[in-house]
């Protein structure tokens, strides 16, 4: 099978990247962001979702250097340059963790469960980190 066969079928897809892990306990958050920025640089319609412990990734005033970790959260500010403007955060996950809506990035949309689910299902491909 040659690659050419697939070229014709190439379609525009919308990509959802779902973040479920806290930022500094594993590399998941950083590797999800790396993937998101690449999708963005290829002009793929990409949205970010934060649910469960993933909501910790959008909370402001964190000090990664205190635990010897590079603060990849600063890189979130690059998202707008890659036209990644849809950033959705689960309201219930924030509430369960007693977190205020104090985010280090703009354009964050906090959604209740049903709306969060609806947005997620509007995407063709879902990657979970």
């Amino acid at each position: 099978m040659s690659a050419a066969i697939y070229e014709e079928k190439q379609t525009d897809k919308t990509i959802a990247i779902v973040n479920t892990q806290a930022p500094f306990s594993s590399a998941d958050g950083k590797e999800a962001l790396d993937a998101a920025l690449i999708f963005g640089s290829y002009e793929q319609a990409t949205s970010l979702f934060f649910i469960g412990d993933g909501v910790f990734q959008v909370i402001g005033e964190q000090n990664a250097s205190a635990i010897e970790i590079k603060d990849y959260l600063k890189t979130f500010s690059a998202l707008e340059f890659y036209d990644i403007e849809n950033i959705y955060v689960c309201q219930q996950s924030l509430t369960e963790r007693n977190l205020m809506a104090n985010f280090h990035i703009d354009n964050v949309q906090v959604l209740a469960n049903e709306a969060f689910s609806q947005r997620l299902h509007q995407h063709n491909v879902i990657y979970r980190f």
Partner: protein
């Protein structure tokens, strides 16, 4: 029209999800689904570590990947930046000293975009 599938493997060879991924690819091939490619990301890149030595009576994930590559020509793409962070290097590619198995293609995240775009279905494990 033939169905097309891309897989993204993020789990190491000793994870049962990796076994699930291998079984899924094999069944898909049986059902005449075209595998556009498998992309190895995060800890999934460890599947390409050729010096991993698993006891003989345990599941040999690498042998299954090699079979998929050799017999069914399934492209196995390795994210190089994730691989290098985990001690796998392509500097020695095509060199016997490389610690990446030659069934794998050293790629980047751009390949993930390509596979995602080309395949009708994408499954992540």
């Amino acid at each position: 029209m033939q169905n097309t599938l891309a897989l993204v493997v993020t789990t190491p060879p000793n994870s049962n999800l990796t076994t699930t991924a291998i079984n899924l690819v094999k069944r898909a091939i049986d059902k005449d689904v075209a595998i556009v490619g498998v992309f190895f990301y995060q800890d999934g890149v460890l599947n390409a570590a050729k010096h991993l030595s698993i006891p003989n009576d345990e599941y040999q994930a690498l042998q299954h990947w090699q079979q998929l590559s050799n017999e069914y020509h399934v492209p196995l793409h390795l994210c190089v930046s994730a691989a290098e962070k985990r001690g796998l290097t392509d500097e020695l590619s095509n060199n016997e000293n490389s610690n990446i198995d030659k069934a794998f293609i050293v790629s980047g995240l751009g390949e993930l975009v390509e596979l995602t775009s080309k395949a009708e279905r994408v499954v992540q494990l």
